[in-house]
């Protein structure tokens, strides 16, 4: 034992050099490291409620309720992969440098969207702001966006049926 005592003490002294790892946390807070992948915050001013983030989310902690167009986010299930941030076409999602993320409430952020109602049947089919964003990107008003997919389909079917009828009539006349 005697023979190994001196090198051991020397090693201990060396090991003790370097940065201190013990601090009086939580009284002495530890600043988050740069570039930390923390929980996300959704900017309600930028979000249009398209739901791309909810589709991408592997943990399904971001969900879009398709009847009310409410986007819900919970830190509790979040795996901090930031796929949502990468996917968001509006750059509405950002990460916050925070690591004390124990939460009690099951949902930590809710973004509500006003649904657009179909001009024909009155059903809710998309968030209003999504339609506005589509028009903004296209650069003009798109009247056919104001009807729901079901009514649009009906309309399209009607139009093509009319076309078939008309062409038959024309054919009949020419014969």
């Amino acid at each position: 034992m005697q023979d190994s005592l001196l090198p051991r003490l020397a090693a201990y002294r060396e090991a003790a050099e370097g940065r201190a790892t013990i601090r009086q946390y939580p009284h002495q807070p530890l600043p988050p490291p740069p570039g930390l992948r923390g929980p996300i915050r959704i900017d309600p001013g930028k979000c249009v409620g398209c739901g791309a983030c909810a589709t991408a989310c592997p943990a399904k902690t971001l969900t879009l309720d398709r009847s009310t167009y409410t986007l819900r986010y919970s830190i509790a299930r979040c795996i901090y992969c930031l796929l949502c941030m990468e996917t968001c076409p509006m750059k509405a999602i950002d990460t916050i440098p925070e690591y004390e993320v124990l939460v009690e409430e099951p949902v930590t952020q809710v973004v509500e969207h006003e649904p657009a109602t179909c001009t024909k049947c009155g059903s809710r089919y998309a968030p209003k702001r999504l339609l506005e964003e589509v028009e903004r990107r296209v650069g003009r008003k798109l009247p056919h966006l104001r009807t729901c997919p079901a009514c649009k389909l009906e309309q399209a079917a009607l139009i093509s049926a009319m076309r078939v009828l008309r062409s038959r009539q024309r054919l009949g006349r020419s014969r």
């Binding site: 190994s4 090693a11 090991a15 370097g18 940065r19 790892t21 570039g35 992948r37 992969c81």
Partner: protein, 531 residues
């Protein structure tokens, strides 16, 4: 409909379709090559594809850098096949066949494994959860029956003293010598493979793969991504390969330092444990700098990586890694010279070269027993083809050799990091995966800190996986522990187990739950099985 295996050959994988009548002959031919041995096997439910169940045996020809897959179709009506255990003699073979029996209900004639492996005792007889038509919901487990199994012996676990992960070894002793070992694991088997097949898109699986293991998670996500890239014929850009290698080596450094520290902890030298863990912190910081997290980097995606390493970052990584390695390795070498530490490791748990090969040892366990294998060199992946490094090999085969070998590997990792970070190419970070096609087969292997890690992927409809098989290195290394313990002193059992650096969570394929740290009380099986 057939599986699409085109493109596998260029990536060093030979795919052989065999039938029940000729597969033994095929396997005998493969095993005639002394470089080849059985790596693992897997079953998959192909009834939705061609009407039969399948078992695929995967062979690794280490020094040739080649994998051979032998796919045997099994008639679902009888669901019986002859075991390959008499041919291979490796405990890993009994394991993978027992797993296939539990999960797919395929019986293997001649497999010596008795009882359950993956599923709990008391699980319903004819419920095989990985079959595609398995009913949903929680099955009724007959707890009383499971608990009523008296077994004399000395329990080691379920809360293992070194790792706090539930695994149960029962040691039968005469005096102080271990003469028999009963092993029961997979207490926390949660079916990550089933989860991925059911719920995740193939682009989301890397995040799940990363959570297979709390130590070497990045290896799993990288190997999964490589398997998918092989299946779909996608080539990640150069820079992505370099960044993957950088992160893999950082992970190897911290994993090996953790293992050496844990060995010191197991022999009761906690001061050494603390000092080495302190040195290891620098590597964790380096990983945090690149990916934004100490562990679980979330940096991979099929086709490339999601993080960038610029020049200043590269310098910082290298600085931190150099500090960690120089300090950690120096301390670890000094501490192991202390008499009371060395005497606990020297000539303890000796694994001979022949046994190591036959029993399927991988990684540092194999290399400490004189088997010169390393996937990074034998079948270069990521950027390992671009760098020079040595594969340290030792002949002693005892716990001390496994300890010292890891330290040498850490030094080699630093050597690799230096080369990678100096010649980082400037290309885009990812290539898009555009043409997804169902029923393509992909196989990828990598050298995890604990040995060869295999991922086998069959793509399915709707951008989901039909089958995803993970074979972590501990799966093979742990299977040989019972053989390794026999004949050793009882007091050495924990340190022998620790010296193979077991990663139970990889093997059970679950998320590490750090429950009840340090407690060693025995939990009854009834409580474990209770829903």
């Amino acid at each position: 409909m057939r599986l699409l295996t085109g493109g596998l050959k260029e990536r060093g994988v030979e795919y052989i379709e065999a039938t029940r009548s000729n597969y033994r002959k095929v396997v005998e031919e493969i095993l005639a090559d002394k470089e080849c041995r059985l790596s693992t096997c897997l079953a998959y439910d192909g009834r939705g594809i061609d009407g039969s169940l399948h078992v695929a045996y995967i062979f690794t020809c280490h020094r040739k850098g080649r994998h051979v897959v032998v796919d045997v179709s099994v008639d679902p009506a009888t669901a019986t096949l002859d075991s390959l255990y008499p041919l291979t003699g490796s405990p890993a073979c009994t394991w993978c066949e027992a797993e296939a029996r539990d999960l797919y209900g395929i019986r293997f004639r001649g497999n010596p494994w008795r009882g359950r492996l993956v599923l709990p005792d008391g699980w319903p007889e004819n419920l095989h959860p990985m079959r595609k038509d398995a009913p949903r919901g929680r099955p009724k487990i007959r707890v009383e029956e499971a608990a009523r199994r008296p077994r004399p012996g000395i329990p080691l676990g379920p809360y293992h003293p070194a790792l706090h992960e539930p695994e149960y070894f029962e040691l039968h002793v005469i005096g102080e010598r271990v003469v028999g070992v009963y092993y029961r694991g997979f207490f926390v088997y949660r079916g990550i493979e089933k989860l991925a097949e059911d719920r995740f898109g193939f682009m989301q699986v890397p995040f799940l793969a990363e959570r297979i293991c709390g130590i070497c998670g990045y290896v799993h996500s990288t190997t999964y991504c490589m398997a998918v890239e092989n299946a779909l014929g996608v080539e990640p850009p150069e820079k992505a390969k370099y960044i993957r290698s950088v992160l893999l080596e950082l992970e190897r450094i911290h994993s090996h330092l953790l293992c050496t520290a844990a060995i010191l902890h197991t022999v009761g030298y906690d001061t050494g444990f603390m000092h080495i863990m302190h040195a290891r912190e620098e590597v964790m910081d380096a990983a945090e700098l690149v990916t934004g997290n100490r562990k679980t980097y979330s940096a991979n995606t099929p086709g490339g990586v999601r993080v960038d390493v610029d020049e200043s970052m590269a310098r910082a990584i290298l600085e931190k890694a150099e500090r960690a390695v120089s300090k950690g390795v120096k301390l670890a070498r000094e501490y192991v010279e202390l008499g009371e530490v060395k005497s606990r490791l020297e000539e303890v748990g000796v694994l001979s070269r022949e046994d190591a090969w036959k029993w399927g040892a991988l990684g540092p366990v194999a290399r400490a027993s004189g088997i010169d294998i390393d996937m990074r060199r034998d079948k270069p992946y990521a950027a390992y083809g671009e760098v020079e490094f040595e594969v340290p090999v030792m002949d002693e085969g005892d716990a001390l050799a496994r300890y010292l070998l890891r330290l040498e590997e850490v030094e080699q990792s630093l050597h690799i990091l230096r080369q990678l970070l100096r010649s980082m190419p400037s290309t885009p970070l990812r290539s898009e995966v555009t043409d997804y096609e169902p029923l393509r087969v992909g196989l990828a292997a990598s050298e995890a800190p604990r040995g060869e890690c295999l991922h086998y992927v069959i793509t399915g409809k709707g951008k989901k996986l039909w089958r995803w098989k993970i074979r972590s290195p501990t799966y093979n290394n742990l299977a040989l522990v019972p053989e390794l313990l026999i004949g050793n002193a009882l007091a050495d059992a924990p340190v022998i187990l620790m010296s193979i650096d077991p990663c139970f969570s990889c093997t059970d394929r679950v998320i590490v739950v750090d429950a009840e740290k340090g407690s060693r009380r025995r939990v009854s099986l009834a409580r474990l099985a209770a829903p």
